[in-house]
């Protein structure tokens, strides 16, 4: 189909972004909006191979300690200033490494950035970091204009709310909590693009309202499961909307149980296994996720096609009898009511799925004689309870795997990442020197085959020790009007810059 220029597309989101740059935050909303305003070095294809954006090409030295980026020429910031390697150097060293939650890990090994000329930047590494190259999309690595930020406190720079970027869309207006209006950048480096005249973001907190807005034609695209799953079938059936799971290959979300290994009951692997056997994960996929996901076989998401490998990895199929036997073995006898032990689960209060899984587990656990209480709290309470007070038994958590294990999964299983007070770190408090070594080696391994093997060992060991039990590998959905084209064409999906997106004129 031939793209058509013009038109306004409306993009629904929730929560609302608080600032309009993602260089200093990991919050999803900020990532989505800022990607449209400011381009990153790369975007990624569905197999997570980098595709040029602001970096036309790159090369890595054999020892992996020098990474050279050749930057695109003739790119201008929205205020007309030229984009140079200086911007990249500044952002890397003073923003990503210092202020960005993930960036602090991803770029931890970057010692300095050399700028031999305006269009070349060389990352000098302390240790090789192959994972870094998977993480240069806008959401983790948004480049800031040095001429605006340098010498200021990036956290309070007014440009955070009136961003100046290099991307296909320019900032027009922002009503915090309500809407953000962007317009076409006529000086975009990729001439002719973008196609849309205007891109409007509306922040709608209520799921039913979002569905209604999409249906009434007030909006065109809703990313990341923000349309209630129960509505998807009907919307799809109406013929006016598309539901796709493409475009989340970098996200790789996983519903995972984290067992608190500091807890006397949870310490016992038999109990952990018993819990694992008591859960019918296919039921969860079918009934809670409406089929958008798969029972997880390893801690790595199946969308990480290069590394995901479950051969020889122990599996915990749904088997209540086995579960009961394990509990029996662990010394938990059933009382008159059939109750063997009482446990408390803390589902992550984010969206409904964890709560629903918690509610399902309460019933499933009853089958095997576990009286499960589902605790409710708000997000802050959850984080404090689990990561600071460590006053919990197990969670149902939603963990982002990211484009590479080093970005996400690693922190859940790597001993040193256990830090009191740090959210979404090693919540289980799992410490196994063998595991630590595997993960550290894998992180620095440049050879893809060896790397794959190391991660295979990781997957096996993780499932043997079972500090955390991966329940479901979630597939996120984007729901969009059929009139909106080209919105999920790479691994960044709705997180990409939307330069290619166009809107079919209404009939």
């Amino acid at each position: 189909e031939e793209p058509v220029r013009g038109g306004e597309a409306t993009f629904l989101m929730s929560p609302a972004p608080q600032v309009l740059t993602s260089a200093m935050t990991t919050a999803g909303a900020e990532q989505v909006v800022s990607a449209k305003i400011s381009d990153s070095l790369f975007t990624y294809d569905f197999n997570l191979n980098p595709q040029p954006l602001l970096a036309e090409s790159y090369e890595v030295s054999d020892d992996g300690l020098r990474v050279t980026f050749h930057l695109r020429k003739g790119v201008k910031w929205h205020d007309g200033v030229e984009f140079t390697s200086e911007d990249l150097a500044y952002t890397t060293m003073e923003v990503w490494k210092v202020l960005h939650g993930r960036g602090r890990t991803i770029f931890a090994n970057v010692e300095s950035v050399e700028t031999p000329d305006k269009h070349t930047a060389v990352f000098v590494m302390r240790r090789p970091s192959p994972g870094m190259l998977k993480s240069l999309a806008a959401q983790y690595a948004q480049i800031l204009p040095a001429h605006i930020y340098k010498g200021t406190d990036p956290l309070t720079n007014p440009a955070n709310l009136k961003p100046i970027g290099t991307g296909p869309f320019r900032f027009v207006s922002f009503q915090p909590g309500d809407n953000l209006v962007l317009e076409r950048n006529p000086d975009y480096w990729d001439e002719g693009k973008p196609y849309l005249d205007k891109l409007i973001f509306r922040f709608i907190p209520d799921p039913a309202t979002r569905a209604a807005a999409l249906e009434s034609g007030d909006a065109h695209i809703v990313p990341q499961n923000l349309i209630p799953m129960a509505d998807l079938e009907r919307l799809e059936a109406s013929g006016e909307f598309d539901v796709t799971t493409k475009g989340y290959e970098f996200l790789n979300e996983m519903e995972m149980i984290e067992f608190n290994l500091d807890d006397d009951v949870m310490k016992d692997i038999r109990v952990r296994k018993a819990i694992a056997h008591a859960i019918d994960r296919q039921w969860i996929v079918d009934n809670i996720l409406f089929g958008y996901g798969q029972p997880a076989t390893t801690p790595l998401h199946h969308q990480l096609t290069e590394l995901h490998d479950d051969t020889g990895v122990p599996q915990y199929e749904y088997d209540p009898e086995k579960s009961k036997a394990l509990l029996e073995e662990a010394g938990y006898k059933a009382d008159a009511n059939g109750v063997r032990l009482k446990l408390v689960v803390d589902p992550l209060p984010y969206g409904d799925h964890q709560q629903h899984i918690g509610a399902y587990m309460r019933e499933a656990m009853r089958e095997v004689g576990i009286d499960l209480e589902v605790r409710a709290q708000d997000f802050a309470g959850f984080v404090k309870r689990v990561y600071t007070d460590r006053d919990f038994q197990f969670t149902v958590n939603l963990l982002t795997g990211g484009s590479d294990p080093t970005v996400g999964t690693q922190r859940t299983f790597w001993g040193p990442s256990f830090k009191i007070g740090v959210g979404f770190s090693n919540g289980s408090h799992y410490e196994n020197p063998e595991m630590d070594k595997i993960l550290e080696d894998a992180a620095a391994e440049m050879d893809p085959a060896k790397r794959k093997e190391l991660y295979h060992q990781f997957q096996k060991l993780a499932m043997e020790d079972l500090p955390a039990f991966p329940l479901v590998a979630v597939e996120s959905t984007t729901t969009a009007s059929k009139r909106l084209k080209n919105h999920s064409i790479d691994a960044n999906g709705t997180y990409s810059n939307f330069a290619e997106v166009w809107l079919e004129p209404a009939k």
């Binding site: 890990t105 915090p176 909590g177 809407n179 740090v422 979404f424």
Partner: protein, 327 residues
Amino acid sequence: MDRQFWTYLGWRGAQSLVIIAIVIVGSFLLLHLVPGDMVDVLGGQRGDMDAEMMADLRARYGLDRPVLVQLLEYIGAVLRGDLGYSFRNSTDVLSLVLQRLPTTILLVVCSVITAVFIGTMAGVVAARHSHRLIDVVISMVVLVFYATPIFLTGLGLMIVFSVKLRLLPIGGLMTPGFGGNWLELVTNVVTHLILPVLSLSLFYIAIYTRLARASMLQVLEQDYIRTAYAKGLSTYNVIIGHALRNALLPVVTMVGLQIAELFGGAVLTETIFSLPGVGRLAYDAVFERDYPLILGVLLVCSFIIIMVNLIIDIIYTLLDPRVEVSR
């Protein structure tokens, strides 16, 4: 308005200050005595902050000092017109709240006016025909409005008028990036507000109808109504000229008592109709443990509610010359 009136107003002003002081101290202590602070949430969301960084942040935001010290400083700041800084939103609380306030005020004021106007009319009609069919019908309809939770009304109205009939926009205060002259702007805002205002006011229409009906019935029993009839006035003139103003007095009082509730109800309405108001701001702030912001919202709301009550007192004084005696 004589000196007495001003003394009275001064007295009310002093009372208001005391009330605000109680609100400040009370909510401040409440928020600071519960577990979990903003840094915990921040740490959680960022994913990889270490304890040191969190301690740093606490020091930076002043969260590491004794609660009483923080309280005193907060009070000092409030007196200077500074409600603190919302680190989550990278803005100072006051400007954040003020930015959102117009929407909420618009919503609440429109709802109050709608509720009082429709409610009073319905109440007067019902009282005028008390115990006849029309009264029973009005009373029942209004009772159903009253019994239906705001969110059901809101979602219902939205599904009917926005999705099915596509008559009115789904939510928001105006079309994003709306550009047009002021008349178009007003029209745009009005169309956006119809459903939220309706869903918020239906509940209150019920209250005012019942109140106006009861108060009208009571007023119609009064001797001065008999006097008015004895003068030879027609029923219409008696009701409009003599009864209505007296019957409105409890309604006016009720508005004062209920304005706070309306602000509360705005949380739900703003959530459903995605209006960028303070209700939603506070709701979001709660989940982010943005204490300065929560405090700021509570404080500004209380302040506004107190001001509204002062205004209502003045209106009351104008409507009822007896206040100087009765209060």
